[in-house]
Amino acid sequence: MKVKGRVFKYGNDVDTDVIIPARYLNTTSESELASHCMEDIDAEFVKKVKNGDIIVAGDNFGCGSSREHAPIAIKASGISLVIANSFARIFYRNSINIGLPILECPAAVKAIREGDTVSCSLDEGKIFDETTGESFTAEPFPPFIREIISDGGLIKHLERRNK
Protein backbone atom coordinates (compact mmCIF):
# COMPACT_ATOMS: atom_id res chain seq x y z
CA MET A 1 0.00 0.00 0.00
CA LYS A 2 1.47 3.36 -1.10
CA VAL A 3 0.39 6.86 -0.13
CA LYS A 4 1.45 10.37 -1.15
CA GLY A 5 0.44 13.87 -0.12
CA ARG A 6 1.28 17.23 1.37
CA VAL A 7 2.15 17.52 5.03
CA PHE A 8 0.24 19.19 7.86
CA LYS A 9 2.62 19.45 10.81
CA TYR A 10 1.65 19.66 14.50
CA GLY A 11 3.44 19.49 17.88
CA ASN A 12 3.28 17.18 20.91
CA ASP A 13 0.19 15.87 22.76
CA VAL A 14 -2.38 16.58 20.03
CA ASP A 15 -5.47 15.44 21.94
CA THR A 16 -8.75 13.95 20.75
CA ASP A 17 -10.67 17.06 21.88
CA VAL A 18 -8.87 19.21 19.30
CA ILE A 19 -9.01 16.45 16.65
CA ILE A 20 -12.81 16.29 16.99
CA PRO A 21 -14.39 18.50 19.69
CA ALA A 22 -17.02 16.76 21.84
CA ARG A 23 -19.66 19.28 20.78
CA TYR A 24 -19.79 17.39 17.45
CA LEU A 25 -20.03 13.90 18.97
CA ASN A 26 -23.81 13.87 18.74
CA THR A 27 -23.43 12.26 15.31
CA THR A 28 -21.76 9.19 13.82
CA SER A 29 -21.80 10.60 10.25
CA GLU A 30 -18.25 10.31 8.90
CA SER A 31 -18.57 13.28 6.53
CA GLU A 32 -20.00 15.49 9.27
CA LEU A 33 -17.19 14.51 11.65
CA ALA A 34 -14.64 15.19 8.89
CA SER A 35 -16.07 18.69 8.37
CA HIS A 36 -14.91 19.61 11.92
CA CYS A 37 -11.62 17.69 11.92
CA MET A 38 -8.75 19.50 13.75
CA GLU A 39 -11.06 22.51 14.15
CA ASP A 40 -9.82 23.59 17.60
CA ILE A 41 -6.11 23.38 16.74
CA ASP A 42 -6.16 24.43 13.06
CA ALA A 43 -9.33 26.08 11.76
CA GLU A 44 -7.84 26.13 8.21
CA PHE A 45 -7.28 22.35 8.09
CA VAL A 46 -10.63 21.36 6.58
CA LYS A 47 -10.39 24.10 3.95
CA LYS A 48 -6.90 23.06 2.85
CA VAL A 49 -6.83 19.27 3.22
CA LYS A 50 -6.81 17.21 0.01
CA ASN A 51 -7.19 13.49 -0.51
CA GLY A 52 -3.94 11.71 0.27
CA ASP A 53 -2.46 14.41 2.54
CA ILE A 54 -0.36 13.39 5.54
CA ILE A 55 -0.27 14.54 9.19
CA VAL A 56 3.12 14.66 10.92
CA ALA A 57 3.20 15.27 14.70
CA GLY A 58 5.30 14.87 17.84
CA ASP A 59 4.83 12.75 20.97
CA ASN A 60 1.62 11.14 22.26
CA PHE A 61 -0.60 11.92 19.24
CA GLY A 62 -4.31 11.26 19.97
CA CYS A 63 -4.12 11.44 23.77
CA GLY A 64 -7.29 11.81 25.82
CA SER A 65 -10.64 10.29 25.03
CA SER A 66 -11.37 6.85 23.55
CA ARG A 67 -13.63 8.40 20.90
CA GLU A 68 -13.15 6.44 17.68
CA HIS A 69 -14.66 9.52 16.06
CA ALA A 70 -11.11 11.00 16.16
CA PRO A 71 -9.37 8.62 13.72
CA ILE A 72 -12.65 8.36 11.76
CA ALA A 73 -12.71 12.16 11.28
CA ILE A 74 -9.04 12.19 10.19
CA LYS A 75 -9.52 9.34 7.73
CA ALA A 76 -12.76 10.76 6.31
CA SER A 77 -11.10 14.16 5.82
CA GLY A 78 -8.83 12.52 3.23
CA ILE A 79 -5.67 12.03 5.32
CA SER A 80 -3.83 8.93 4.10
CA LEU A 81 -1.26 8.57 6.90
CA VAL A 82 -0.30 9.96 10.31
CA ILE A 83 3.40 9.90 11.21
CA ALA A 84 4.29 10.73 14.84
CA ASN A 85 7.01 10.18 17.42
CA SER A 86 4.48 8.16 19.43
CA PHE A 87 0.72 7.58 19.70
CA ALA A 88 -1.57 7.42 22.72
CA ARG A 89 -2.57 3.79 23.17
CA ILE A 90 -6.33 3.93 22.59
CA PHE A 91 -5.88 6.11 19.48
CA TYR A 92 -3.24 3.66 18.21
CA ARG A 93 -5.58 0.69 18.52
CA ASN A 94 -8.57 2.62 17.15
CA SER A 95 -6.59 3.71 14.07
CA ILE A 96 -5.75 0.11 13.19
CA ASN A 97 -9.33 -0.97 13.88
CA ILE A 98 -10.83 1.62 11.50
CA GLY A 99 -8.07 1.34 8.89
CA LEU A 100 -6.22 4.65 9.29
CA PRO A 101 -2.53 4.08 8.45
CA ILE A 102 -0.14 5.29 11.20
CA LEU A 103 3.64 5.06 11.62
CA GLU A 104 6.03 5.93 14.44
CA CYS A 105 9.20 7.58 13.08
CA PRO A 106 10.94 10.27 15.18
CA ALA A 107 13.64 10.89 12.51
CA ALA A 108 10.97 11.71 9.91
CA VAL A 109 9.07 13.90 12.37
CA LYS A 110 12.22 15.88 13.08
CA ALA A 111 13.10 16.51 9.43
CA ILE A 112 9.78 16.81 7.56
CA ARG A 113 8.36 20.36 7.33
CA GLU A 114 4.86 21.72 6.95
CA GLY A 115 3.86 21.71 3.28
CA ASP A 116 6.48 19.16 2.13
CA THR A 117 5.30 16.48 -0.28
CA VAL A 118 5.87 13.06 1.23
CA SER A 119 5.34 9.57 -0.13
CA CYS A 120 5.36 6.33 1.81
CA SER A 121 5.30 2.62 1.21
CA LEU A 122 3.37 1.29 4.21
CA ASP A 123 4.44 -2.32 3.64
CA GLU A 124 8.13 -1.46 4.05
CA GLY A 125 7.76 1.58 6.31
CA LYS A 126 9.79 3.64 3.81
CA ILE A 127 9.07 7.37 4.04
CA PHE A 128 10.38 9.71 1.31
CA ASP A 129 10.29 13.53 1.54
CA GLU A 130 10.03 14.46 -2.16
CA THR A 131 10.57 18.16 -1.37
CA THR A 132 13.94 17.68 0.31
CA GLY A 133 14.98 14.30 -1.10
CA GLU A 134 15.47 12.80 2.38
CA SER A 135 14.28 9.30 3.21
CA PHE A 136 13.45 7.58 6.50
CA THR A 137 12.51 4.11 7.66
CA ALA A 138 9.81 3.32 10.20
CA GLU A 139 9.12 -0.10 11.70
CA PRO A 140 6.31 -1.44 9.46
CA PHE A 141 3.35 -3.26 11.00
CA PRO A 142 3.34 -7.06 10.83
CA PRO A 143 1.38 -8.45 7.84
CA PHE A 144 -1.84 -9.21 9.78
CA ILE A 145 -2.14 -5.61 10.99
CA ARG A 146 -1.36 -4.30 7.47
CA GLU A 147 -4.15 -6.53 6.16
CA ILE A 148 -6.63 -5.04 8.67
CA ILE A 149 -5.66 -1.52 7.57
CA SER A 150 -5.78 -2.25 3.84
CA ASP A 151 -9.18 -3.96 4.21
CA GLY A 152 -10.50 -0.72 5.73
CA GLY A 153 -10.56 -1.77 9.39
CA LEU A 154 -11.15 -4.75 11.68
CA ILE A 155 -14.85 -5.30 10.98
CA LYS A 156 -14.43 -5.16 7.18
CA HIS A 157 -11.40 -7.42 7.53
CA LEU A 158 -13.42 -9.99 9.49
CA GLU A 159 -16.27 -9.76 6.98
CA ARG A 160 -13.88 -10.41 4.09
CA ARG A 161 -12.20 -13.27 5.92
CA ASN A 162 -15.54 -14.90 6.76
CA LYS A 163 -16.79 -14.78 3.13
Partner: protein, 418 residues
Protein backbone atom coordinates in the same frame (compact mmCIF):
# COMPACT_ATOMS: atom_id res chain seq x y z
CA UNK B 1 7.75 -16.23 35.79
CA UNK B 2 7.09 -13.43 38.31
CA UNK B 3 4.08 -11.26 37.45
CA UNK B 4 2.53 -7.91 38.40
CA UNK B 5 -1.11 -7.77 39.56
CA UNK B 6 -2.25 -6.62 36.09
CA UNK B 7 -0.35 -9.46 34.42
CA UNK B 8 -1.87 -12.03 36.80
CA UNK B 9 -5.41 -10.89 36.01
CA UNK B 10 -4.73 -11.05 32.27
CA UNK B 11 -3.16 -14.52 32.59
CA UNK B 12 -6.16 -15.78 34.59
CA UNK B 13 -8.67 -14.55 32.01
CA UNK B 14 -6.56 -15.86 29.13
CA UNK B 15 -6.42 -19.31 30.80
CA UNK B 16 -2.62 -19.20 30.97
CA UNK B 17 -0.24 -20.15 33.80
CA UNK B 18 1.77 -17.02 33.25
CA UNK B 19 2.26 -14.15 30.83
CA UNK B 20 5.05 -11.67 30.26
CA UNK B 21 5.20 -8.04 29.14
CA UNK B 22 4.79 -7.67 25.39
CA UNK B 23 2.98 -11.01 24.92
CA UNK B 24 -0.27 -10.94 22.91
CA UNK B 25 -3.13 -12.80 24.61
CA UNK B 26 -6.81 -13.35 23.94
CA UNK B 27 -8.84 -13.11 27.15
CA UNK B 28 -12.41 -13.58 28.37
CA UNK B 29 -14.17 -10.42 29.56
CA UNK B 30 -16.40 -9.95 32.60
CA UNK B 31 -17.99 -6.75 31.32
CA UNK B 32 -18.08 -4.63 28.17
CA UNK B 33 -19.21 -1.00 28.53
CA UNK B 34 -20.27 1.80 26.21
CA UNK B 35 -22.05 5.15 26.56
CA UNK B 36 -24.35 7.29 24.42
CA UNK B 37 -21.42 8.63 22.34
CA UNK B 38 -19.38 5.47 21.74
CA UNK B 39 -22.30 2.98 21.85
CA UNK B 40 -23.97 4.00 18.58
CA UNK B 41 -20.69 3.64 16.62
CA UNK B 42 -20.26 0.11 18.02
CA UNK B 43 -23.92 -0.80 17.46
CA UNK B 44 -23.84 0.31 13.81
CA UNK B 45 -20.81 -1.92 13.24
CA UNK B 46 -22.40 -4.77 15.18
CA UNK B 47 -25.58 -4.71 13.12
CA UNK B 48 -23.60 -5.05 9.88
CA UNK B 49 -21.76 -8.14 11.04
CA UNK B 50 -23.67 -10.04 13.72
CA UNK B 51 -27.12 -10.94 15.01
CA UNK B 52 -26.90 -11.71 18.74
CA UNK B 53 -24.47 -10.55 21.41
CA UNK B 54 -22.38 -13.25 23.09
CA UNK B 55 -23.81 -12.60 26.57
CA UNK B 56 -26.26 -9.77 27.30
CA UNK B 57 -25.45 -10.01 31.06
CA UNK B 58 -21.88 -8.93 30.34
CA UNK B 59 -22.79 -5.70 28.55
CA UNK B 60 -23.57 -2.33 30.12
CA UNK B 61 -24.84 0.71 28.20
CA UNK B 62 -24.96 3.98 30.16
CA UNK B 63 -26.64 7.09 28.76
CA UNK B 64 -24.60 9.73 30.57
CA UNK B 65 -22.64 12.03 28.26
CA UNK B 66 -25.33 14.10 26.54
CA UNK B 67 -28.23 12.88 28.69
CA UNK B 68 -30.81 14.02 29.63
CA UNK B 69 -30.58 14.71 25.90
CA UNK B 70 -29.31 18.14 25.00
CA UNK B 71 -30.55 18.19 21.41
CA UNK B 72 -32.28 16.13 18.73
CA UNK B 73 -29.10 14.48 17.49
CA UNK B 74 -28.10 13.26 20.95
CA UNK B 75 -31.66 12.02 21.51
CA UNK B 76 -31.25 9.95 18.33
CA UNK B 77 -27.98 8.50 19.66
CA UNK B 78 -29.66 7.40 22.90
CA UNK B 79 -32.54 5.94 20.90
CA UNK B 80 -30.12 3.73 18.94
CA UNK B 81 -28.76 2.39 22.26
CA UNK B 82 -32.24 1.99 23.79
CA UNK B 83 -33.55 -0.01 20.82
CA UNK B 84 -30.45 -2.17 20.74
CA UNK B 85 -30.67 -2.91 24.47
CA UNK B 86 -34.32 -3.98 24.07
CA UNK B 87 -33.59 -6.21 21.03
CA UNK B 88 -30.60 -7.87 22.69
CA UNK B 89 -32.13 -8.20 26.20
CA UNK B 90 -29.40 -6.06 27.76
CA UNK B 91 -30.64 -5.52 31.32
CA UNK B 92 -27.79 -3.22 32.28
CA UNK B 93 -29.09 -0.42 30.09
CA UNK B 94 -29.07 2.71 32.22
CA UNK B 95 -31.40 5.39 30.90
CA UNK B 96 -32.40 8.70 32.49
CA UNK B 97 -33.80 7.88 35.94
CA UNK B 98 -31.59 4.81 36.40
CA UNK B 99 -28.43 6.27 34.98
CA UNK B 100 -25.48 7.97 36.57
CA UNK B 101 -21.98 8.75 35.32
CA UNK B 102 -20.77 5.34 34.13
CA UNK B 103 -17.59 5.03 36.23
CA UNK B 104 -19.40 5.97 39.44
CA UNK B 105 -22.46 3.91 38.56
CA UNK B 106 -20.97 0.51 37.67
CA UNK B 107 -18.99 0.06 40.92
CA UNK B 108 -21.98 1.37 42.93
CA UNK B 109 -24.29 -1.15 41.25
CA UNK B 110 -21.82 -3.98 41.91
CA UNK B 111 -21.26 -4.69 38.21
CA UNK B 112 -17.47 -4.54 38.51
CA UNK B 113 -15.15 -5.77 41.24
CA UNK B 114 -11.89 -7.40 42.28
CA UNK B 115 -10.24 -9.69 39.73
CA UNK B 116 -12.51 -8.65 36.86
CA UNK B 117 -11.34 -8.03 33.31
CA UNK B 118 -13.32 -5.10 31.86
CA UNK B 119 -13.14 -3.09 28.64
CA UNK B 120 -15.16 0.05 28.06
CA UNK B 121 -15.54 2.40 25.12
CA UNK B 122 -14.63 5.30 27.34
CA UNK B 123 -11.08 6.21 28.28
CA UNK B 124 -11.86 6.53 32.00
CA UNK B 125 -12.83 2.84 32.22
CA UNK B 126 -9.50 2.48 34.06
CA UNK B 127 -11.37 3.71 37.20
CA UNK B 128 -12.29 0.16 38.35
CA UNK B 129 -8.65 -0.63 39.12
CA UNK B 130 -9.46 0.95 42.48
CA UNK B 131 -11.34 -2.28 43.29
CA UNK B 132 -8.54 -4.53 42.03
CA UNK B 133 -9.93 -5.09 38.53
CA UNK B 134 -7.98 -4.88 35.27
CA UNK B 135 -10.05 -2.39 33.32
CA UNK B 136 -9.10 -0.32 30.32
CA UNK B 137 -10.55 2.04 27.75
CA UNK B 138 -10.97 0.96 24.13
CA UNK B 139 -12.67 2.33 21.02
CA UNK B 140 -16.03 1.42 19.59
CA UNK B 141 -14.68 -1.30 17.27
CA UNK B 142 -13.06 -3.21 20.13
CA UNK B 143 -16.25 -2.74 22.14
CA UNK B 144 -18.25 -4.15 19.20
CA UNK B 145 -15.92 -7.16 18.95
CA UNK B 146 -16.26 -7.62 22.74
CA UNK B 147 -20.07 -7.73 22.42
CA UNK B 148 -19.80 -10.25 19.57
CA UNK B 149 -17.29 -12.61 21.17
CA UNK B 150 -17.10 -11.83 24.91
CA UNK B 151 -13.36 -11.65 24.40
CA UNK B 152 -10.65 -9.14 23.57
CA UNK B 153 -6.98 -9.35 22.63
CA UNK B 154 -4.41 -7.55 24.76
CA UNK B 155 -0.73 -6.80 24.60
CA UNK B 156 0.43 -7.61 28.15
CA UNK B 157 1.70 -4.33 29.65
CA UNK B 158 4.84 -3.69 31.64
CA UNK B 159 4.31 -1.67 34.82
CA UNK B 160 5.36 1.34 36.84
CA UNK B 161 5.16 0.89 40.62
CA UNK B 162 3.96 3.74 42.82
CA UNK B 163 4.60 3.08 46.51
CA UNK B 164 2.50 5.48 48.58
CA UNK B 165 3.78 6.16 52.10
CA UNK B 166 2.66 8.35 55.00
CA UNK B 167 -0.61 10.04 55.84
CA UNK B 168 -1.90 12.94 53.74
CA UNK B 169 -2.58 16.28 55.42
CA UNK B 170 -6.04 17.80 55.81
CA UNK B 171 -7.37 19.01 52.40
CA UNK B 172 -5.05 16.65 50.47
CA UNK B 173 -7.17 14.13 48.53
CA UNK B 174 -6.82 11.41 45.93
CA UNK B 175 -7.11 14.15 43.30
CA UNK B 176 -4.01 15.90 44.65
CA UNK B 177 -2.14 12.57 44.67
CA UNK B 178 -2.89 11.80 41.01
CA UNK B 179 -2.31 15.37 39.77
CA UNK B 180 1.05 15.32 41.59
CA UNK B 181 1.96 11.99 39.95
CA UNK B 182 0.93 13.16 36.45
CA UNK B 183 2.98 16.32 37.03
CA UNK B 184 5.92 14.08 37.94
CA UNK B 185 5.79 11.64 35.00
CA UNK B 186 3.95 13.66 32.30
CA UNK B 187 0.90 12.97 30.14
CA UNK B 188 2.73 10.13 28.37
CA UNK B 189 4.79 9.02 31.37
CA UNK B 190 2.96 5.70 31.64
CA UNK B 191 2.15 5.23 27.92
CA UNK B 192 1.03 1.61 27.22
CA UNK B 193 1.93 0.64 30.83
CA UNK B 194 0.15 -0.34 34.06
CA UNK B 195 0.33 1.99 37.06
CA UNK B 196 0.38 -0.28 40.12
CA UNK B 197 -0.10 1.31 43.54
CA UNK B 198 0.97 -0.13 46.88
CA UNK B 199 2.47 0.99 50.20
CA UNK B 200 1.33 1.75 53.74
CA UNK B 201 -0.13 5.13 52.71
CA UNK B 202 -3.01 3.34 50.97
CA UNK B 203 -4.75 2.75 54.33
CA UNK B 204 -5.38 6.52 54.53
CA UNK B 205 -7.08 6.65 51.13
CA UNK B 206 -10.81 6.00 51.10
CA UNK B 207 -12.52 4.17 48.22
CA UNK B 208 -13.51 7.45 46.53
CA UNK B 209 -9.88 8.70 46.62
CA UNK B 210 -8.77 5.48 44.97
CA UNK B 211 -11.44 5.75 42.25
CA UNK B 212 -10.18 9.28 41.51
CA UNK B 213 -6.55 8.12 41.31
CA UNK B 214 -7.25 5.16 38.97
CA UNK B 215 -9.69 7.26 36.94
CA UNK B 216 -6.89 9.60 35.88
CA UNK B 217 -4.30 6.89 35.08
CA UNK B 218 -5.24 7.47 31.42
CA UNK B 219 -4.14 11.12 31.78
CA UNK B 220 -0.60 9.76 32.18
CA UNK B 221 -1.16 7.58 29.09
CA UNK B 222 -1.53 4.38 31.14
CA UNK B 223 -3.37 1.26 30.01
CA UNK B 224 -4.68 0.71 33.53
CA UNK B 225 -4.19 1.75 37.14
CA UNK B 226 -4.66 -0.75 39.96
CA UNK B 227 -4.77 -0.88 43.79
CA UNK B 228 -4.34 -3.87 46.09
CA UNK B 229 -7.60 -5.26 47.51
CA UNK B 230 -7.68 -4.47 51.23
CA UNK B 231 -10.42 -4.21 53.87
CA UNK B 232 -11.60 -0.84 52.52
CA UNK B 233 -12.15 -2.36 49.06
CA UNK B 234 -13.75 -5.55 50.42
CA UNK B 235 -16.11 -3.52 52.65
CA UNK B 236 -17.15 -1.46 49.61
CA UNK B 237 -17.90 -4.58 47.54
CA UNK B 238 -19.74 -6.39 50.37
CA UNK B 239 -23.47 -6.67 49.64
CA UNK B 240 -22.91 -4.90 46.33
CA UNK B 241 -20.62 -6.87 44.02
CA UNK B 242 -22.57 -9.61 42.28
CA UNK B 243 -19.66 -12.08 42.03
CA UNK B 244 -17.07 -13.36 44.50
CA UNK B 245 -14.08 -10.97 44.62
CA UNK B 246 -10.92 -12.62 43.25
CA UNK B 247 -7.81 -11.20 44.87
CA UNK B 248 -4.55 -11.19 42.93
CA UNK B 249 -1.28 -10.17 44.60
CA UNK B 250 1.88 -9.15 42.75
CA UNK B 251 4.79 -11.60 43.04
CA UNK B 252 7.52 -10.26 45.36
CA UNK B 253 10.00 -10.42 42.48
CA UNK B 254 7.64 -8.98 39.83
CA UNK B 255 9.43 -6.70 37.40
CA UNK B 256 8.60 -3.00 37.23
CA UNK B 257 10.14 -0.60 34.72
CA UNK B 258 10.50 1.93 37.50
CA UNK B 259 9.46 2.47 41.10
CA UNK B 260 8.34 5.82 42.49
CA UNK B 261 8.03 6.45 46.24
CA UNK B 262 5.35 9.06 46.92
CA UNK B 263 5.30 10.50 50.46
CA UNK B 264 1.64 11.44 50.88
CA UNK B 265 2.39 13.50 54.00
CA UNK B 266 4.55 15.85 51.91
CA UNK B 267 1.84 16.59 49.31
CA UNK B 268 -0.06 19.90 49.14
CA UNK B 269 -3.32 20.80 47.39
CA UNK B 270 -2.40 20.60 43.69
CA UNK B 271 -3.95 22.20 40.60
CA UNK B 272 -3.25 21.39 36.94
CA UNK B 273 -3.11 24.54 34.84
CA UNK B 274 -4.23 24.82 31.21
CA UNK B 275 -3.88 23.07 28.86
CA UNK B 276 -2.45 19.73 30.02
CA UNK B 277 -3.04 17.66 33.18
CA UNK B 278 0.76 17.50 33.64
CA UNK B 279 0.96 21.26 34.41
CA UNK B 280 0.54 20.50 38.13
CA UNK B 281 1.30 23.32 40.58
CA UNK B 282 1.05 23.81 44.34
CA UNK B 283 -0.23 26.99 46.00
CA UNK B 284 2.97 29.05 45.87
CA UNK B 285 2.92 28.84 42.06
CA UNK B 286 -0.76 29.54 41.43
CA UNK B 287 -0.50 33.33 41.23
CA UNK B 288 -3.71 35.35 41.12
CA UNK B 289 -6.27 33.61 38.88
CA UNK B 290 -9.71 35.22 38.73
CA UNK B 291 -12.42 32.73 37.79
CA UNK B 292 -15.92 32.70 36.23
CA UNK B 293 -17.13 29.17 37.00
CA UNK B 294 -16.63 26.17 39.24
CA UNK B 295 -17.69 22.61 38.37
CA UNK B 296 -17.78 19.92 41.06
CA UNK B 297 -18.70 16.53 39.63
CA UNK B 298 -17.72 14.02 36.87
CA UNK B 299 -16.48 10.41 36.90
CA UNK B 300 -13.37 11.75 38.62
CA UNK B 301 -14.90 13.64 41.57
CA UNK B 302 -18.71 13.37 41.69
CA UNK B 303 -18.95 10.83 44.54
CA UNK B 304 -20.33 11.31 48.05
CA UNK B 305 -16.94 12.09 49.67
CA UNK B 306 -16.40 14.76 47.03
CA UNK B 307 -19.77 16.36 47.76
CA UNK B 308 -19.07 16.19 51.52
CA UNK B 309 -15.74 17.97 50.96
CA UNK B 310 -17.43 20.69 48.91
CA UNK B 311 -20.17 21.08 51.56
CA UNK B 312 -17.58 21.35 54.34
CA UNK B 313 -16.21 24.44 52.60
CA UNK B 314 -19.50 25.95 51.38
CA UNK B 315 -21.43 25.53 54.66
CA UNK B 316 -22.39 28.97 55.93
CA UNK B 317 -20.54 30.67 53.06
CA UNK B 318 -21.65 32.20 49.75
CA UNK B 319 -20.45 31.68 46.20
CA UNK B 320 -18.76 34.92 45.09
CA UNK B 321 -20.86 37.28 42.97
CA UNK B 322 -20.06 36.77 39.31
CA UNK B 323 -19.09 33.10 39.76
CA UNK B 324 -21.35 30.21 38.65
CA UNK B 325 -20.92 27.13 40.85
CA UNK B 326 -22.30 23.95 39.28
CA UNK B 327 -22.46 20.79 41.38
CA UNK B 328 -23.24 17.45 39.73
CA UNK B 329 -23.74 14.34 41.89
CA UNK B 330 -22.47 11.43 39.77
CA UNK B 331 -25.42 9.06 40.34
CA UNK B 332 -28.99 9.22 41.61
CA UNK B 333 -28.00 7.23 44.71
CA UNK B 334 -25.27 9.77 45.51
CA UNK B 335 -27.76 12.58 44.85
CA UNK B 336 -30.26 11.04 47.27
CA UNK B 337 -27.61 10.46 49.92
CA UNK B 338 -26.51 14.10 49.56
CA UNK B 339 -30.11 15.21 50.10
CA UNK B 340 -30.41 13.00 53.20
CA UNK B 341 -27.15 14.32 54.61
CA UNK B 342 -28.27 17.92 54.06
CA UNK B 343 -25.51 18.64 51.53
CA UNK B 344 -27.83 19.82 48.77
CA UNK B 345 -29.37 22.40 51.08
CA UNK B 346 -25.87 23.70 51.91
CA UNK B 347 -25.10 24.01 48.17
CA UNK B 348 -28.31 25.82 47.31
CA UNK B 349 -28.06 28.11 50.35
CA UNK B 350 -24.52 28.99 49.22
CA UNK B 351 -25.80 30.01 45.79
CA UNK B 352 -24.64 26.97 43.83
CA UNK B 353 -26.80 25.06 41.34
CA UNK B 354 -27.22 21.28 41.59
CA UNK B 355 -27.66 19.29 38.38
CA UNK B 356 -29.01 15.85 37.61
CA UNK B 357 -26.22 13.29 37.00
CA UNK B 358 -24.48 13.84 33.62
CA UNK B 359 -20.96 14.12 32.19
CA UNK B 360 -22.25 17.45 30.84
CA UNK B 361 -19.66 20.24 31.03
CA UNK B 362 -16.60 18.01 31.63
CA UNK B 363 -16.30 17.34 27.90
CA UNK B 364 -17.97 20.55 26.75
CA UNK B 365 -21.27 18.78 26.14
CA UNK B 366 -23.84 20.88 27.97
CA UNK B 367 -24.81 22.19 31.44
CA UNK B 368 -22.00 24.71 31.88
CA UNK B 369 -20.14 25.58 28.67
CA UNK B 370 -17.54 28.39 28.86
CA UNK B 371 -17.52 31.56 26.73
CA UNK B 372 -14.39 33.05 25.15
CA UNK B 373 -11.72 33.87 27.73
CA UNK B 374 -13.64 32.42 30.70
CA UNK B 375 -11.90 30.43 33.42
CA UNK B 376 -13.23 27.45 35.35
CA UNK B 377 -11.87 25.57 38.37
CA UNK B 378 -13.14 22.05 37.82
CA UNK B 379 -12.90 18.70 39.60
CA UNK B 380 -12.95 16.97 36.19
CA UNK B 381 -10.08 15.21 34.44
CA UNK B 382 -8.98 17.12 31.33
CA UNK B 383 -8.03 20.73 30.64
CA UNK B 384 -7.24 20.50 26.92
CA UNK B 385 -7.84 23.46 24.59
CA UNK B 386 -11.61 23.88 24.14
CA UNK B 387 -12.45 20.98 26.45
CA UNK B 388 -15.24 22.83 28.29
CA UNK B 389 -16.20 25.36 25.64
CA UNK B 390 -14.55 28.14 23.64
CA UNK B 391 -10.96 27.48 22.53
CA UNK B 392 -9.79 30.55 24.49
CA UNK B 393 -11.47 29.39 27.73
CA UNK B 394 -9.37 27.78 30.46
CA UNK B 395 -9.90 24.82 32.81
CA UNK B 396 -7.97 24.40 36.08
CA UNK B 397 -8.16 20.83 37.43
CA UNK B 398 -8.50 20.62 41.21
CA UNK B 399 -9.94 18.73 44.18
CA UNK B 400 -13.46 19.46 45.48
CA UNK B 401 -11.89 21.36 48.44
CA UNK B 402 -9.98 23.71 46.15
CA UNK B 403 -12.91 24.06 43.72
CA UNK B 404 -15.33 24.97 46.53
CA UNK B 405 -12.85 27.40 48.13
CA UNK B 406 -12.34 29.05 44.72
CA UNK B 407 -16.11 29.39 44.29
CA UNK B 408 -16.23 31.37 47.54
CA UNK B 409 -13.24 33.63 46.87
CA UNK B 410 -13.77 34.07 43.11
CA UNK B 411 -10.09 33.24 42.63
CA UNK B 412 -8.13 30.01 42.51
CA UNK B 413 -7.72 29.39 46.26
CA UNK B 414 -6.85 26.73 48.79
CA UNK B 415 -9.33 26.15 51.64
CA UNK B 416 -6.83 27.53 54.17
CA UNK B 417 -7.14 30.97 52.61
CA UNK B 418 -10.82 31.39 53.47
Amino acid sequence: MAMTVSQKILAYHAGLESVKAGQLVNAKLDLVLANDITGPVAIKQFEKSAKLVADPQKIALVMDHFAPNKDIKSAEQCKICRNFAAEQNIENFFDVGRMGIEHALLPEQGLVGAGDLVIGADSHTCTYGALGAFSTGVGSTDMCAGMMSGECWFKVPSALRFTLTGKPKKYVTGKDVILHIIGLIGVDGALYKSMEFDGDGIQYLGMDDRFTICNMAIEAGAKNGIFPVDKTALDYMKGRFKREPKIFIADPDAEYERQYIIDLSALEPTVSFPHLPENAKTRENWGDIRIDQVVIGSCTNGRISDLRAAAEILKGRKVKDGVRAIIIPATNQIYLQAIEEGLIKIFIDAGAVVSTPTCGPCLGGHMGILAAGERCVSTTNRNFVGRMGHTSSEVYLASPYVAAASAVSGRLSSPEEL
